[in-house]
Structure formats: C-alpha cells, structure tokens
C-alpha cells in the first residue's frame, strides 16, 4: 500500500483543484505527440498530426487530452487505492487499446513539464517530488493488468 504524507496529499489535491483541465489536458497530449512522435501510432484516426502546429491545434487531441486528465481525477479522489481504481482502465489499455505501458511514463513526464510551466516558482522540488510520486503510482496501476 502506498503511504502518503500530509504534504503529498495536500499538494496533489491542491494542484488538481487549480488545473484548467481543458488547457492542461490538451497541451499535455499535444506535447507528448510532439516530443515523442512515435506515440502518434495510437492516434491514426485523429487527422492532421503532421507537425507541431497541426498537433497543437488539433481539436481531437485537445478533446482526448481533457478526457485523459479527467481520468486522473479518479486517482486523486482515491489516493489510498489507486491500484483498484484503475484495474478496469488497465485492462482497457492492454486488451482493447494495445498501448505499450512505457508510454504512460512519457505522458506523465509531459504532464509534469506542463504543470511546471503553469506553476513556475511554485512548482518547487518538493512539490515536483510529490507530483511525480503520484504519477508513478498511477502509471504502475495502469500497467498492472497487462499480461
């Protein structure tokens, strides 16, 4: 079981309460598709992903990014059992979407960068550590049902 300090719980709740889900979600997925272009393999039906400008302006990317970020809400609300919370989603990503779980880490790194750019100075080393710990637990839970 993951042990969360009071600081970590407060930090995670605080960050997510302040997030503009549409802006951050879309920006995160777009960034992932630009920085790690091979991730585009999962989005063949998303239309124009030809260059960074096209990706950043793509409405399907924006919409899907928001969906992903809202998916993280579930973990924020159930920090003490993220494993169970994501069991179904893990099966979905494995059996239906066939997503290589290494990609979860890539997306989570992009989210960290986007949040850092949003919060600037307030994204201190301690806040970063808490945020990355949270994302690591999420990533692990999402990969758990793969076989």
């Amino acid at each position: 079981m993951v042990v969360w300090t009071d600081f970590e719980r407060a930090t995670i709740t605080d960050i997510f309460s302040k997030l503009d889900y549409e802006a951050v979600g879309g920006a995160t997925l777009a960034r992932c598709l630009v920085v790690y272009p091979w991730t585009q393999r999962y989005f063949g039906n998303f239309g124009n992903l030809y260059n960074a400008a096209a990706i950043s302006g793509n409405p399907m990317v924006a919409k899907h990014g928001t969906t992903i970020l809202h998916g993280l809400d579930r973990a924020v609300k159930n920090m003490d059992d993220i494993k169970a919370t994501y069991a179904e989603l893990s099966v979905l990503h494995s059996e239906k979407l066939h997503v290589d779980p290494d990609n979860f880490k890539l997306l989570s790194d992009c989210l960290t960068i986007v949040v850092a750019a949003q919060l600037g100075k307030d994204f201190t080393g301690e806040v970063q550590a808490a945020f990355q710990k949270f994302l690591a637990v999420v990533v692990s839970a999402l990969g758990r049902q793969y076989h």
């Binding site: 920085v35 960074a52 790194d109 960068i113 850092a116 750019a117 080393g125 970063q128 990355q132």
Partner: protein, 141 residues
C-alpha cells in the same frame, strides 16, 4: 537527430541562460535530489543544502558545460573530451542519473521559461540533453 533549426533554438536558449547559470544549475540539482534521493550519494563531500555555495558553484559548472556544448553540437565529442574522462575514471556516476538530471533540467526550464518552453523547444532540448549524456558516458566502458 537534430535539425538545423533545432540546433539554433538550443544554442539560443542556452546563450540566454548563461547569465543565470548558477540559478538554473542549482535548481536542477535540487530538483534531482528531491525526486531521486539516491543521486545525493555522489555529493556526500559537499554541502548541497538549498542556496549553499557548493550547490550554486556546482550547478553553474554543469550549466556552463551544457551551454558550451550547445554552441557547436556537431563537435560534442571533442568539446566534452576532458569531461568524458573525468566522469568515466574519477566520478563514475551511474549513467541512469544523467537521465534523472536531464529530466529535472527540463522541468527547471519549464518553470523558468513557462509559455516559451514550447513543445518544439522541449523536444529539441530533450534530444540535445540525451545526446550530451550519451557522449559524456562514452568512455565508461
């Protein structure tokens, strides 16, 4: 593989950051120590508390080396020759730490450059720092 435009972007960014090399370097190191406690084992001989003189001067050294390499990326192996030897035979830092440091450097850049740390700049910088780390570890074995 870095395009000509990306190399330009990278050298521009590092030129702009050279005056604040101490701040950027110290911050990246602190982020790494906070998120990867194992990395602190390489600094048991220094005072790495926030705003310590050791931390700032060490951070500055690292950033200045990265900035120097950015001036002519095609010559990285030559520019980094002495540092390659230092890291391989004296420091012997486990290379996974280069990945951790690079990530923390990207986070530092994002926190400082905010909107200006665009996906394109991020991609270019990630590629550069990966290449830098790879060249740095070339003499390890």
């Amino acid at each position: 593989m870095l395009s000509a435009r990306e190399k330009e972007l990278i050298s521009e960014i590092w030129e702009r950051l050279t005056p604040v090399a101490e701040d950027i370097g110290a911050e990246a190191l602190l982020r790494m120590f906070a998120t990867q406690p194992g990395s602190k084992t390489y600094f048991s001989h220094l005072d790495i508390s926030p705003s310590s003189a050791h931390l700032r001067s060490h951070g500055q050294k690292i950033v200045l080396a990265i900035a120097e390499g950015a001036k002519d990326i095609s010559q990285l192996a030559i520019t980094l020759g002495p540092l390659q030897t230092l890291h391989a035979y004296q420091l012997r830092i486990d290379p996974t730490n280069f990945k951790f440091f690079s990530h923390c450097m990207l986070v530092t850049l994002a926190a400082h450059m905010r909107k200006d740390f665009t996906p394109v700049a991020h991609a270019a910088m990630d590629k550069y720092l990966s290449a830098f780390a790879a060249v740095l570890s070339e003499k390890f074995r």
